[in-house]
Structure formats: C-alpha cells, structure tokens
C-alpha cells in the first residue's frame, strides 16, 4: 500500500570501536574535527579524486543525499517568503516541496546552498554531514543556526560542540571530584557466576 518506499536503514552509523582508553579520553577534550564544505555534489566528487583526503566519491554521494534529506527535514519553515528572506537574505528562499499543495501555512524555507562533511572520531568514526543554508549577513550556516561559516567551499577544523548542564542530584553535581570511601560494590553478585561470560545476553 506504500507509494514511496520509506528507507528502513540509518543514513550513517558509528563504526569504530575505539576501546576503553579512547572513549574515556575523548570525553574530556573539546574535540576539533576535519571538515570540508562544498557548494554541490560535483565539487565534492572532483575533490575526492585527490586520494590523500579522508573521503571518497562514495562518501560524497552518500553524504550529499543525507544532507539533502536532512535539509528537507530540519530546515526552518516560514510563513512567507519575506520572513524567510529576513533571516536568510534576499533570493535565498524557496517554497517547501514537502508542504501541502495550496495549504498555506509555513511553506517557505531557505534553499540548500551546499553541505559540510566532517570526519568524526568522537562519534565512533565515519563521516557525518550537515546541509548549509545562507544567513542574513551573507554567511553560511547549518539549519540549527548554531554554527556559521564564511564559505560553503572550504576546509578546516570544526568544534564538535558540547553543552554541559548538570542534572540535579542529592549531593554534588555529576562529574565533581568526590571523596570515595569504598569501591567494588557492584559486579560481585550471583544470579550466575561464570567467569569470563558476558554480563549481557
């Protein structure tokens, strides 16, 4: 009964099992990752011919498709073209292809003007992408708007930003150094004792 096939698999996954040390360390650094942005698929493919880079033509295709989809799903919607252009600059908006025909409402969105790929060790390896749209001051941003860049065709290091908010607990906030009086009170139990066996299943 489906008219268009709905994709049943992830667009990307975390592939690398880094091991305990790396996972522990990576958490403590504000990591910066290699990133490249391209105005379109063709310029990415052209750049991928240089084999010293961290991405292949296949990565370009996969990530461009993912960025297009993400743009459709996450780009901000506006009630009118004027409102959209206030946010993204004149000539940088179009109608929402996903909007209902003639339904009115929020049916204008910034145009996709490129995409950025990042080589993400902090996410278990693999390549991640974000679509890019224009900002009112002539820069390029991801749809979330929390990162903006001067160009949609460049290379550099980008921060994988993290926000730290401590959930309330009864004593000290999480991650505070504390006085430990004992260790090893978990793990000894005995619904089964079979050394070396997985604790999961």
């Amino acid at each position: 009964m489906t008219t268009t096939r709905h994709r049943k698999r992830s667009r990307h996954v975390a592939l690398v099992l880094a091991g305990t040390a790396t996972l522990a360390l990576a958490a403590c650094e504000d990591e910066r990752v290699d990133a490249r942005s391209f105005p379109d698929l063709e310029s990415c493919i052209a750049a991928s011919k240089d084999n010293s880079l961290w991405f292949t033509e296949q990565d370009c295709r996969q990530n461009f498709a993912a960025a297009q989809q993400e743009h459709l799903e996450t780009a901000p919607r506006y009630e009118s073209k004027e409102l959209c252009e206030q946010q993204h600059g004149v000539g940088n908006c179009g109608s929402d292809p996903a909007a209902q025909q003639g339904g009115g409402g929020f049916s204008f969105m910034p145009l996709l003007v490129g995409y950025m790929m990042g080589s993400m060790l902090s996410r278990g390896g693999g390549i991640f992408s974000q679509p890019m749209v224009r900002t009112a001051d002539g820069r390029f941003a991801t749809p979330k708007g929390d990162q903006s860049f001067a160009t949609n065709n460049g290379a550099g290091k980008v921060a994988s930003s993290t926000f730290n908010r401590a959930p309330a607990t009864i004593g000290k906030p999480p991650m505070t150094a504390a006085q430990v009086q004992s260790r090893g009170g978990f793990g000894a139990s005995a619904t089964s004792r079979n050394p070396g066996r997985s604790l999961g299943g």
């Binding site: 296949q58 278990g124 009864i170 504390a178 090893g184 009170g185 978990f186 619904t191 079979n194």
Partner: protein, 407 residues
C-alpha cells in the same frame, strides 16, 4: 524469508580489525558470518516483524504494570522485597526505557513467536546497528545487492533520537560494563557514540571500579560523581550486590530504569500468556511449579487449570523449561516427545525458579537454525539482527548473520 549464498567482501576481516570489531571470530569459530545472508520482503519486515514487535513491547509494558502492582507476582519473579518500591516508583514516575531486544522464532510462514525479551542488557548491538550496516552499504556499492535493496536497521539513528528525548542537553552519562569483555564493551561503546551524537557527555567506567562517596553518591573509577548511569549489568544482580542498599539514596538515574527488572525476567512470559491468552505472537507459558505435575499426568494448579488444558496438546508436542534468570541459553532444556531431554551445557542459572514454554521449533536453513533479534529503541521496533546455530538452543557461540530487504 530466504537464505542466500553471497560472496564475502574482500578483506573484511582486516577491516573488522581496523574498526576494533575484535570478536568477529570467537574461540577459533566464526562469529560474524557473511558467507550467506537472510533476505526478507519489505511487507514481511513491516507486517510480520516490525509491527508485532512494537506491539509486543507495549504488551510487556502492560505486564510490567500488572507485575509491579501484585506482590504475589513480584515474589514469583524473585524480586527482593526490599526493592519493590524502587521498581514500582520508577514505573510510576514514567522513567523512560532506552533499548531492548526481542528474540523471536520465525520460519517465514507463520507469525513470529516471542521466545524471550532481553529488555535490560542486550548485547550484539554493534553487530546489528553498525557492522551489519557497513556490510550492506559495501555490498550494495559493489553490486552484490541491488540498488533497490534495503536493510531493517535504523538502530543507530533511533538511539540518537531516543537519547536526545530522554536526557537533558549536555547531560553527563556514565557507561558501566565489564571492560575485560569485548562484547559487552562494544555494546556500551555503540550506545555511547549515539549518546555523544545526541549532544550528551559519555564517560566510561569499569563496573567493578564504581565507588561510594562519603555523601552516599556513586562515583566512577576517577572518583567523579555519577549522575546518570547506563549499566550493562542486569538488575537482578544490581539488586543483590552490596551496593544495593545505596541505589535509592545515591540519587542516581539508572538506564535501563529499575522497572525493566520485571520484563527482563522470564517470569514475564507466563504473565503475558495469562494477560493475552492465544495472542498470535506468544507461546503458551506457565510457571513450572504450577504445571510440573500436569506435564507428567498429574493436575495443574487450580488457577491455571483452564489455561493449561487449552495449551495441553501444544505443550505435549514439545516444550522448553528455562530459569527465570538466564542469559544466552544457559539452563534451557528441550523436551520433545519420544526423545531424551536436550540440555544446554551451562547450568549456572538452574538454581532459579523455572518457567515452561511451548516449543517453537526453529526453522532449518541448511542445518542452521536462525533466531531473530528485533531491536526496540524507546517504544518502537527499529531493526533486526539474526543469529543462527546448528544446535536448536541458541547460545553465545552462535553466528551473527547479516540480512537485507528485497522486494
């Protein structure tokens, strides 16, 4: 459902090693096996596996509510009485679940049948969510699989979305596992990458290194206070450890939440059968002590007499006894008419109460018996991982098999 012989990717073992998938072979036997793969149609995936799995999870939630409200059931599930409040309170508060794996018997013909629910500490997550995905993408790029093929596997994306849903932005989550076990560690690492992608802080701590602070909070191996704890360690053990008395006072948020203790327990299965008798995706199941005598010609306990009579023929065609706590086939015994009982060699759980479940014979594909693991993230089924074994009892040396969707 078909099994297809396929060419292996050249050099996949080297790539597995490079990615840190160190247990692709275990004990000299292949664990990841891509010499063949299972193939399903889209409607088979959506109608026979995905929708029933999502429904089964909802039924398990209903069973959790019932069990947590009935002391008699909590007793039968061997939940220590001093922790009933912790479990019930976590349910009352609506503490959200993260993930689980339903193990299903499915032969491509009849309905998928629930064997058990690994609702607390399921492993094989990396193989299902990541390595299987890579296999698919590479085989499709190589032309081994058609351009219109797909895979039922949005596990990673579903995990990222679920983490973002159930945690505050930037929340620090500790991941505790036995770091000496690569399978367990791979599972928490897979979850931790997804948590990072959702904007959370992910910190590993070895389970045995968790400490208690002078304020009664838990701390990690580096003496940092734990606020939110994902533990790849079963609730039935947590509740019996020496730190169990500090579970509430520590103020820690646990993932999976404590109420999962009653659905990751095989005592769930007779409760489900009692609540949803005759459901097409359930096998008849009873607490062993209620029907032990009836199975050998005696009388069942009065309160299950009618249900037992209705299931008598099915049980006579074959049934399985399982301890309420067990992992990876341990303690499972198969009873088939005219054959001696077949036991799993590992009986380290067999001192626990048992349940009886009608036998769902696994299909035979070239001498191998596949079991489907359907992954639940949040409250929806989002992926599939298959394991197959030459023995009719799937255990921890069975092989992981990739799958794809065609047509």
């Amino acid at each position: 459902m078909e099994k297809r012989i396929l060419p292996e990717r050249p050099g996949w073992r080297d790539e597995a090693a490079r990615l840190g998938f160190s247990f692709a072979d275990m004990d000299g036997q292949p664990y990841w096996d891509e010499t063949s793969a299972y193939c399903f149609t889209l409607s088979e995936i959506e109608d026979r596996i995905e929708a029933p799995s999502t429904e089964l999870h909802q039924m398990c939630r209903a069973a959790a509510e019932r069990i947590l409200g009935e002391e008699q059931l909590l007793r039968r599930l061997h939940v220590p009485a001093e922790h009933w409040d912790l479990l019930a309170e976590s349910w009352r508060q609506g503490e959200p679940e993260l993930y689980g794996r339903l193990d299903l018997a499915y032969d491509g013909q009849g309905p998928a049948l629930l064997l058990e629910y690994n609702a607390d500490t399921p492993t094989a997550l990396y193989e299902s969510a990541s390595y299987q995905w890579l296999w698919f993408e590479q085989q499709q790029a190589a032309g081994v699989l058609g351009a219109d093929c797909d895979q039922f596997n949005s596990i990673h994306e579903s995990l990222v979305a679920r983490w973002a849903e159930i945690c505050a932005p930037g929340e620090d989550v500790h991941f505790a596992a036995d770091s000496s076990n690569p399978e367990d560690y791979a599972t928490v690492e897979t979850l931790a990458w997804a948590a990072r992608e959702a904007g959370l802080g992910a910190h590993f701590t070895d389970l045995a290194q968790i400490g208690l602070t002078s304020d009664g909070q838990f701390a990690d191996g580096q003496s940092r206070v734990i606020g939110t704890l994902f533990k790849l360690y079963p609730w039935e053990d947590m509740l019996r450890d020496s730190y169990a008395e500090h579970l509430v006072g520590s103020g820690t948020r646990y993932i999976e939440p404590p109420w999962k203790a009653v659905v990751s327990n095989k005592g769930l299965l007779p409760v489900l059968w009692q609540m949803f008798p005759g459901h097409p995706n359930l096998l008849p199941a009873f607490f062993a002590e209620d029907v032990e005598q009836a199975l050998t010609g005696g009388q069942p306990a009065a309160h299950v007499a009618a249900a037992f009579d209705a299931a008598r023929d099915r049980l006579a065609r074959g049934h399985v006894t399982k301890p309420i706590y067990s992992r990876e086939g341990a303690g499972v015994t198969l009873h088939r008419p005219g054959q001696p009982p077949l036991c799993h060699a590992d009986d380290s759980y067999s001192h626990h109460p048992m349940i009886v479940q009608a036998l769902a014979p696994l299909p035979d594909f070239g001498g191998f018996h596949p079991v489907l693991g359907s992954w639940i993230v949040g409250q929806h089924c989002c992926g599939l991982g298959l394991r197959e074994d030459t023995s009719p009892i799937t255990h921890n040396l069975s092989r992981f098999k990739p799958h794809f969707i065609e047509g």
